[in-house]
Amino acid sequence: MTTTESPASLLPPKSSRHVPGQPDMWVFVLFESLVFTSYFCVYLYARTQHEAAFLRSQAHLLLWLGVLDTVVLLTSSWAVARCVQHARAGRYGLARRDAWVTAGLGFVFLVLKIVEWARLIHFGHTFTSTQFFQYYFFLTAIHFVHLLIGFVVIGVLILQLKDPRRRRQETVETCATYWHTVDFFWVLIFALLYVVR
């Protein structure tokens, strides 16, 4: 993997290594990951018990739409990662631009999701129609709620970057950490709902 053999020079010296953002946000990331993992486990178990029915319902999803969702969110994550680096270097204008790009891509994801839901409901696949769609709508909706909270978080980020008196790198990183969390939850949800067979 690309991550481990990074040149030491790119990393901050050991003494100044710091937790990105508030350490407290990481409590949220780890705790909420556990909660999501438990949802995923329940889903996977239900899946194994009714494999054929799940596959039949799953066939109604468009994989390419899921891939598009994922790419959009990954790109937004990339944008917010750049935002953090710009802010750290004091390039607040660029940082703000990237924050807006993040929010914009988040909005694109939101629209894609609503279109996808509308399409499924149009074809008669609702929250109450089959077990698979129960889980599908639950997982996508709870992720959707996290994303909506993410907009508030990005709003805070933009306000922070705007006002020189408020600018705190820690808050910027905290907000970014939240957004990445929403992103990697989607990566997992995507794999579990669209790809798993």
Binding site: M1, T2, T3, S6, L10, P12, R17, H18, V19, P20, W26, L30, S33, T37, S38, F40, C41, L44, Y45, A46, R47, T48, Q49, E51, A52, L55, Q58, A59, L63, W64, V67, T70, V71, L74, T75, S77, W78, V80, A81, R82, V84, Q85, H86, A89, R91, L94, E173, A176, T177, H180, D183, F184, V187, L188, F190, A191, L192, V195, V196, R197
Partner: protein, 96 residues
Amino acid sequence: MSTFNKRLFAVWLILVGITASYLWIDHSAGQRGVPTASTVITVGAICFALIKVRIIMREFMEVRGAPQLLCRLTDFWVVLMGVAMLGVYFAGKAVA
């Protein structure tokens, strides 16, 4: 100093690449619209997703610059999620 971070771009490319590979997995697995159950694809999809999660944490979330404790903790979490999900999956298979 350039404001364009090549490393982040590379990370993004890798992540998108893995995501796109799902299309190929899907294409090679199904017999034209009739999906069949496949343990290999399930395990593969979960593992790829977890690798992506780890890359996001390491690179985007900047865990690689964080204290050792957080590095280990996040790695442990990724393993924990994987073990939990795959464990439940195989347990479910055994029961079904």
